[in-house]
């Protein structure tokens, strides 16, 4: 059992879910302890992944077992610098979210724990899968527990929100399935055998016209998940209705899968399309930044405000992603972690007052700083992280993203469209302060106007325990991000190089064909790097 950590990572939640399923409904305490325990073991296993050496690109802990051989479907998993931190984020947030849930979830403990374990399985599976079919299976697997969590343990309009969430996500992912099958079929035509293995499929170069359609199908699935403006309207509903734990996981991890899908699948497989459509998506990301900030500002429901702030933050991540350079992509990955931590913590904090007051309306609060000083401290710190104050995690991510988009290689120095997009995105920094401080002002400052707020109790031990790791992460990433960046940078560098080569190869061809990119990249390196490899279109025959 030296390297099977990823299988353990998937097996533990699956096995635990089975155990929970078999345990009688009435063993509440045992189920609570067992599920949290399983998730903590999971966290420890995932920390083992961090210890590996990521100083060069490529997947670690790869396991490859044939599954359905006739269709080339295999169980293939692995992590690299890009997925590593997302895996850790998942294993960190899952126990926290579940633990924090015990404050408000009093019925259906068994089903809730079961859903969470399955959810964790789905998320981890999607992050480590290197086989498109396997990825799709996990991708859809995530939907069901989340649907149940919102639909059963949610608020008043939970069914509407759950169905909306489900259908929205489903529409996108079905198109993605079609695109996956098309890619596999094209590969089969050339290579003579089916495969869903991402690395094998990567050698396929499709003509640009096909790439656009396929990328569109993938992008729709991922953009809905992100969610990118204008596909975001499921998010506020889902967040508002979901229980605290559900919101935390939804915001912290599920949204990241959209971006992850872009990096891992859509961009390498369809480089020409991503290069052409990418700026448009980045532009929509910028629209999302500003639009989300505007919409967040006028919300009266705190949870909705945080939900719209997610739209705004995810816009930053899209912008960084499609800047197509190391700063932008590393920044986007780091910002995914940051957003997971800070928005996850914000949802936890919203849950804290909701548990006490059963209201999330800004108007119902005011002056809480007087009665809940520790809560105020935690909230303000997380707020600062969310608006990207230097020294907290949010700043590093936003800074790298903005630097990436400003220095986008696509634009060779300062391209006017990227320059303007960066300008607009940077105004998001202003608006973030506006809407978050607006919320802080309404909740914490001023006099206590509602007498029922006077008797509110400060954070209890469980809440502090669930928030403290996140606060630690806020400052850790804020002050020493190098630890995280060093692990992802080699992978990101390789990704950018690989993408560029793929882009030029893809632009060169009119017919589908197979290219040995590894060999090509070696040849390019031997010839003196990418600048030499840049093709001057086709030579006249």
């Amino acid at each position: 059992m030296t390297t099977h950590y990823l299988t353990w990572l998937l097996a533990i939640p699956a096995a635990s879910a089975l155990v929970v399923l078999l345990v009688p409904r009435s063993w509440d305490v045992a189920i609570k302890r067992f599920s949290i325990g399983a998730m903590l073991v999971e966290l420890i296993v995932s920390l083992r992944l961090v210890l590996a050496d990521y100083s060069d690109a490529g997947y670690r802990f790869v396991e490859h077992v044939a599954w359905v051989e006739s269709f080339g479907i295999s169980y293939k998993v692995g992590v690299d610098g890009i997925s590593l931190w997302l895996v850790v984020l998942t294993t960190l947030l899952s126990p926290i979210a579940l633990y924090a849930s015990w404050g408000s979830i009093k019925t259906g403990i068994k089903g809730y724990a079961l859903s969470f374990l399955l959810l964790e399985l789905g998320m981890l599976g999607a992050f480590v899968a290197l086989d498109l079919f396997l990825f799709y299976v996990f991708w859809e697997l995530m939907l069901v527990p989340m649907y149940l969590i919102i639909g059963i343990w949610g608020g008043k309009d939970r069914v509407y929100a759950a169905v909306k969430f489900f259908l929205y996500t489903m529409v996108g992912s079905l198109l993605m399935l079609v695109a996956i099958l098309y890619v596999v079929a094209s590969y089969e035509k050339l290579a003579g055998h089916y495969t869903f293995d991402l690395q094998e499929l990567s050698s396929l170069v499709l003509p640009a016209s096909q790439q656009y359609l396929l990328f569109g199908a993938f992008a729709l699935a991922f953009a809905i998940k992100v969610p990118m403006f204008p596909f975001h309207t499921w998010l506020p509903d889902a967040h508002v209705q979901a229980p605290t734990g559900g919101s935390v996981i939804l915001a912290a991890v599920l949204l990241k899968l959209g971006i992850y899908g872009f990096i891992r699948f859509a961009m390498p497989l369809f480089p020409v399309a991503s290069q052409t459509i990418g700026p448009v998506l980045a532009g929509l990301g910028v629209v999302g930044i500003i639009y989300g900030a505007y919409a967040a500002w006028v919300q009266r429901d705190l949870k909705k405000l945080v939900a719209y702030s997610s739209v705004s933050h995810m816009g930053f991540i899209l912008l960084g992603l499609f800047a197509m350079n190391r700063n932008g992509i590393s920044g986007a990955i780091l910002q995914m972690i940051n957003h997971g931590i800070s928005t996850g913590a914000l949802f936890l904090l919203v849950g804290v007052i909701y548990d006490r007051r059963h209201s999330r309306k800004l108007d119902d609060f005011g002056g809480l700083a007087k009665v809940m000083p520790w809560y105020t401290l935690f909230f303000v710190v997380i707020t600062l992280s969310s608006i990207g104050l230097p020294g907290t995690n949010g700043f590093v991510g936003e800074f790298m993203i903005l630097a990436g988009s400003f220095l986008s290689r696509t634009a060779i120095g300062f391209g006017s469209s990227w320059f303007i997009m960066t300008l607009l995105a940077t105004t998001g920094v202003i608006f973030a302060a506006v809407y978050m401080l607006h919320a802080v002002l309404r909740i914490f400052w001023g006099k206590i106007v509602h007498p029922e707020n006077e008797s509110l109790t400060d954070l209890n031990r469980r809440e502090v325990a669930s928030l403290l790791p996140l606060i630690v992460m806020v400052f850790w990433i804020g002050l020493y991000p190098k630890f995280f960046l060093d692990k992802m940078n080699p992978s990101v560098d390789a990704f950018v190089t690989d993408f560029t080569v793929r882009y030029y190869e893809g632009r060169r061809t009119g017919e589908p064909r197979l290219v040995d990119f590894e060999e090509l990249e070696q040849r390019i390196e031997a010839a003196g790097g990418l600048a030499m490899a840049e093709p001057t279109h086709e030579d006249a025959q």
Binding site: M400, A433, Y480, K482, A540
Partner: protein
């Protein structure tokens, strides 16, 4: 690269002490004794000050060995960026003390320490005392990071950190929601400035390839910022330096309260008075000036940016002074005075007198801190909360002797009374402005110089006037709240403040009177003696601050000091006449009422911003918030779901439940399938392998095939069950030539019909016109036998030497972004038969991707243009 001096751990400790104090007091202060809180809060800053002095002395010593000596502490690498060039720029947490940051560190820790001390007395009874100390300490730490940080991002940490502390301290009494809102306003307005700093930072790193101030400055001196900014902006082509400086200056206007972002500073007086003194007068607000001085070699490369700064500074000085003249409340007057003085500093920066501007920062820290603390002492004495109305005070000279003397000293300094610190610094600024006037052959800078000089002189008159108006109304005459009448009477029996408050006042007042001698002018006015050797300040700053040369011509020197002295004299005399021992606002009676009211309402700038910027944005936000749940959600969610539901409703009608109808539909389906299979179906596909053409068609169930590959009426193959065949076409099989245009990028391909007459080649049909440059368009094409001929329309063929291009059949070539290929056409015929015995023929025209060897025995029998379709 920099000379690697030994690590100066002291620099780190200077920052860590206050930071530690902030953390201890912030987390545990609530549970600690007050004395311990004081010890931690004040002690940490005192230690920090001590270390700063030690470091400064060390730096001073090093300066004798090397002019550019600096103290450096490299802490760790924060993160790194990769530039498009491939270079990796490490963002280091690295601290540098050079002559500029050394002085600033001393100001921050020294003045800050005094204000901490003062706070013991002023805030000691507040229940949030530990919190207050914690925030103050955090502020010190942030400010020190701002000052000592060696690169833009590290400085930015402090830059935003002080903004945060400002937010927290303005809203310190958070139970008053207006105060908290003032804090928020400060933060948001500062963020607008931070936006500028961020963008400026990106431009700097993009050009200089480094975040380090030293590298940026050397790049600026090497002229790397001179090229035009590559993005087309509003029809003008500013240089890189101009754009970068304008964005950075936007940040400075936010932090240092200049037009247009000064509006937060007056509101910031909601915070406790020590905060006003420390943050909003002495240290944080001067960060903008500090940044400009830090990057002075960059700023000085852009005349346009410098002019903008000078004009903005002058206008701010005038505007704020004009507001201060009519205000009634102590702290408000001081706040506008601060804005106005900051305007002076920026005007100095704008005219290239960086050292003078920074000297004003230095002196201003003393007298303005002293003034604020004095105001606090007065408020403490009369138990005024928030602010004190000077028309309800008066005659306090008896009750508050120490406060009064120190206040007077500071008033003299700020008014520029000879030999006080303000006299020297203001004089240097006016001298810098005057120098611009006499710069030869530069219309822009000359006019800026005139504007600055006149504007600043006017502002100086007003400064002297409103300061002494404040002094006279507060300390002379009779105490107007003694009779306990009026709306909110102050305490009837004011008393002097405790020593913890008066000691800082005295120290600061002494500083306000004396520190000016550090910056004696180069040339003494009127007498004309050269004092260069004694001008410690200018010499000290030379190492880290660039600037225009200080003029030494007597007429300039005399002009500047004459104006400065005159302004001071006029201002103080006017105040003496109007306000000494008076109790009413004489100015209000003398000025037109509406003008007075307008000035009193701060020229209604806040209202203007609210009407033109804030409210429109807010309205957009409201609309966005509403539209999201109505319009966007309707389009993205409700509309599709409505469509599905309605389509379902229509289709549901078909489910009428009558079994026979279902059966009948089945029969219709069966018939349709039968009809399809009745005749065979096929289509021809061609694949090319060398010169052989593989003809295929999809295999059908029970089909048989035979091919006539060249469509000459004779079938080459017999009926057989396998669909494909291969064929090698010959020249005789050719039916004509087809021309294809292809977008090499997207793969889009169009067939073009060409005759043997010249016709334009429609490249736009495959490449969007926006992507075409003039040299890619305007081709003409025709067929000549077996060749395609191309030429440039309106070609200056003889001049450019461009001839007609001949493209042989089967070949392709590039024309700009498109590829054009000439391909021979052949036609294939296929006959298919199915199990029912029905047959069908399919023919297809195939464009071959290769040409033919022209047959030796004959050429084409017909002219090419007749066969081209």
């Amino acid at each position: 690269m920099h000379v690697e001096a030994p690590q100066q751990i002291l620099l780190l400790l200077i920052i860590l002490f206050p930071l530690g104090g902030a953390i201890i007091n912030g987390l545990l202060g609530r549970y600690m004794a007050k004395g311990l809180v004081t010890l931690v809060g004040v002690g940490s800053v005192a230690l920090s000050f001590a270390l700063a002095v030690v470091s400064f002395v060390e730096l001073y010593g090093l300066r004798h060995e090397s002019e550019t000596a600096t103290l450096v502490y490299h802490f760790y690498e924060w993160f790194s960026l990769k530039l498009p060039s491939g270079n990796v720029v490490a963002v280091n947490v690295r601290f540098v003390m050079d002559s500029l940051s050394g002085v600033m560190t001393l100001i921050v820790t020294g003045v800050g320490g005094l204000i901490h001390l003062y706070s013991i007395g002023y805030m000691g009874d507040d229940e949030g005392y530990p919190r207050f100390m914690s925030f103050l300490n955090l502020f010190m730490a942030s400010m020190l990071i701002l000052v000592l940080g060696s690169s833009m991002p590290v400085m930015f940490v402090g830059w935003e950190g002080v903004g945060l502390c400002s937010y927290l301290l303005i809203g310190f009494w958070f139970e008053n929601r207006d105060y908290a809102a003032a804090g928020r306003k400060a933060f948001v307005v500062n963020r607008i400035g931070d936006f500028g700093v961020l963008i400026g930072m990106f431009i700097l790193v993009g050009v200089a390839g480094s975040f380090e101030f030293a590298d940026i400055n050397s790049a600026a001196m090497a002229g790397e910022f001179r090229p035009d900014f590559p993005v087309w902006l509003l029809g003008v082509a500013p240089s890189l330096a101009t754009v970068a400086c304008v964005f950075l200056f936007l940040g400075c206007t936010g932090k240092s309260a200049q037009i247009p972002l000064y509006i937060w500073l007056p509101d910031a007086m909601a915070g406790p008075t020590p905060v006003s003194a420390l943050i909003h007068a002495a240290t944080m607000v001067t960060a903008g000036v500090y940044l400009c001085c830090r990057l002075s070699p960059l700023f000085i490369t852009s005349d346009v940016a410098m002019s903008i700064i000078a004009v903005t500074g002058t206008l701010t000085a005038l505007l704020a002074a004009s507001i201060a003249v009519v205000q009634r409340e102590m702290k408000k007057i001081l706040a506008y005075s601060t804005v106005s003085q900051l305007g002076f500093m920026f005007a100095a920066v704008g005219v290239g007198a960086f050292a003078a501007g920074f000297f004003h920062v230095f002196t201003h820290a003393f007298f303005k801190a002293c003034l604020f603390l004095g105001a606090g002492s007065v408020m403490h004495a009369v138990h005024a909360h928030g602010d004190a109305d000077i028309f309800k005070l008066g005659g306090l000279r008896k009750a508050l002797p120490i406060t009064r003397l120190t206040f007077l000293a500071s008033c003299l300094a700020i008014a520029g009374f000879p030999l006080t610190s303000g006299f020297f610094s203001k004089d240097e600024i006016l001298l810098g402005a005057a120098a611009q006037i006499f710069r030869p052959d530069d219309m822009l800078m000359t006019s800026v110089g005139w504007f600055t000089l006149i504007g600043l002189t006017l502002a100086a008159v007003m400064t002297a006037f409103y300061m002494f108006r404040l002094y006279f109304l507060t300390f002379t005459g009779e105490y107007r709240s003694a009779d306990q009448s009026g709306d909110h009477p102050y305490d009837a029996h004011p008393h002097e403040s405790p020593p913890a408050m008066t000691i800082p006042l005295v120290v600061l007042a002494v500083g306000a009177l004396t520190v000016g001698f550090l910056g004696l002018p180069h040339v003494v006015p009127i007498i004309g003696t050269h004092l260069s050797d004694y001008s410690w300040w200018g010499h000290w700053m030379e190492a880290s601050v660039a600037g225009q040369p200080v003029p030494e011509q007597m007429y300039i020197v005399n002009l500047a000091s004459g104006l400065a002295f005159g302004a001071m004299a006029i201002g103080i005399s006017a105040a003496w006449v109007l306000y000494r021992n008076k109790s009413t606002d004489a100015l209000a009676e003398k000025m037109p009422a509406r003008l007075y009211q307008l000035a009193f309402d701060k020229w209604r700038v806040d209202e203007l911003y609210a009407a033109t910027i804030v409210n429109p944005i807010k309205n957009v936000a409201v609309v966005a918030g509403r539209a999201d749940m109505t319009f966007v959600d309707a389009v993205m969610t409700k509309l599709p779901s409505f469509n599905v539901r309605e389509a379902g409703r229509i289709l549901a009608r078909l489910q009428n439940g009558v079994v026979h109808v279902y059966g009948a539909v089945v029969v219709v389906g069966v018939v349709a399938v039968l009809a399809w299979f009745w005749t065979p179906h096929s289509r021809i596909e061609a694949a090319f392998e060398g010169t052989r053409v593989e003809l295929t068609t999809p295999q059908g169930l029970g089909y048989e095939y035979r091919w006539d590959a060249n469509s000459d009426g004779e079938f080459e193959t017999q009926w057989k069950g396998t669909p494909g065949t291969t064929f090698e076409y010959g020249h005789d099989d050719m039916r004509g030539i087809a021309v294809f245009l292809k977008n090499t990028h997207s793969g889009i391909e169009h067939r073009i019909d060409v005759t043997d007459e010249w016709m334009p080649l429609p490249i736009e049909s495959v490449v969007p016109a926006e992507f075409l440059s003039p040299r890619d368009t305007g081709f003409e094409v025709r067929i000549d036998g077996e060749f395609l001929l191309f030429r440039k329309a309106h070609a200056r063929t003889k001049l450019s030497g461009m001839k007609e291009i001949r493209l042989p059949m089967g070949k392709s070539g590039r024309l700009g972004p498109a590829r054009v290929s000439s391909r021979p056409l052949v036609e294939a015929t296929l006959e298919v038969r199915n199990a029912f015995g029905n047959t069908r023929r399919a023919t297809k025209e195939i464009a071959l991707p290769f040409g033919f060897e022209a047959p030796t025995h004959a050429s084409l029998t017909r002219p090419a243009h007749e066969v081209v379709r």
